[in-house]
Symmetry: C2
């Protein structure tokens, strides 16, 4: 068996990307080599730099090039409101979608005792220190509406309660554009329980 | 407007990959940063090396790290048979699928006069020199079954004819596993014309 050619190495390296299988990796490799070498070079350069230089914000734990992320360093953000999300992608989604002016705390996952992920692994000791500072008046729990996300939200709610901090949870219900017929029962039950006056 | 962050640069660099839009690029960037930094570093390294070191084989024009590709350098391949394909991906597909023992010639596209792609741009001058060597006895035209691919095949057939080289074209018909009901008319017409005894 000869050692794999550089082309084969490139195809297998591309498979580290999520959602990219053997066939797409091959297509990507040929595309870059035949039609976009400059794009490939630029991707290689940015990728190396990003893997080395992007760390986590010391305050909110999101991905950041500097010790303190742009958002935490921004004096115009309201430090009394703290939105708690599972991932930096969730944070980015909220930033893009709505006009929220408070701060964030990024867990980097959810509680999952069976996988060895306890409070410390998702930075809750760090979060409790932040609560102790006394600046935070309201936390908005925006963990995913899954079993693990709910359990994590419940745990953080209990932590906040002992510090006498108000806790809110983002609403659960039928999504915009969804059709009732195709919505699952649990979602529908949430939508009924959470109904508001018209 | 502040300069884009390294994360934003990474997301936009990933969009040079075919089939990757804003949302997938974002997902890929977060995945590499949160879960697979080693994979990202390896991809960056291989990518840079591939973009610099992979060129084209001087004989068959396929992608190759060395001046002569492994296949052209292999004395066990039959030099009297020459399969002509549009892209290195087509060549790879044939190599994986069937037990062909001849050689290849990779055009790198098809004739497209409106886009300024004439015989010279797809290496036909080079192919004619190869014909002139006298070693090739049969060419197998495996260009795509599209209008442009057919026109390119016809052009190469005419070139071969003046050199008295036998030309064959891969069969066109209904694909394996396809259903007649959903096959287009042109394919069905080809399948009827090309019918063989059972």
């Amino acid at each position: 068996m000869p050692s794999p050619s550089l082309l084969q190495q490139l195809i297998s390296a591309l498979r580290c990307l999520p959602g990219v299988g053997a066939k797409s990796a091959q297509r990507m490799a040929y595309h870059l080599l035949e039609r976009d070498r400059d794009g490939g070079r630029e991707l290689s350069r940015v990728l190396a730099q990003a893997m080395e230089s992007i760390g986590h914000c010391s305050r909110c734990r999101t991905l950041s090039e500097s010790g303190l992320c742009r958002l935490c360093a921004n004096p115009e953000r309201d430090p009394t409101q703290l939105c708690i999300v599972e991932t930096p992608a969730d944070q980015a989604m909220i930033e893009q979608a709505i006009d929220y002016r408070g701060c964030y705390f990024v867990l980097g996952g959810h509680l999952s005792p069976l996988d060895g992920i306890g409070p410390k692994e998702i930075g809750l000791d760090h979060l409790d220190e932040r609560f102790a500072e006394g600046e935070v008046k309201e936390i908005i729990l925006a963990t995913n509406p899954t079993i693990e996300g709910e359990a994590t939200a419940q745990y953080i709610h209990d932590m906040a309660e002992t510090r006498k901090i108000k806790t809110t949870r983002i609403a659960q219900g039928v999504p915009m554009g969804g059709e009732l017929e195709y919505v699952d029962g649990a979602t529908l039950a949430h939508a009924f329980r959470g109904r508001s006056e018209f």
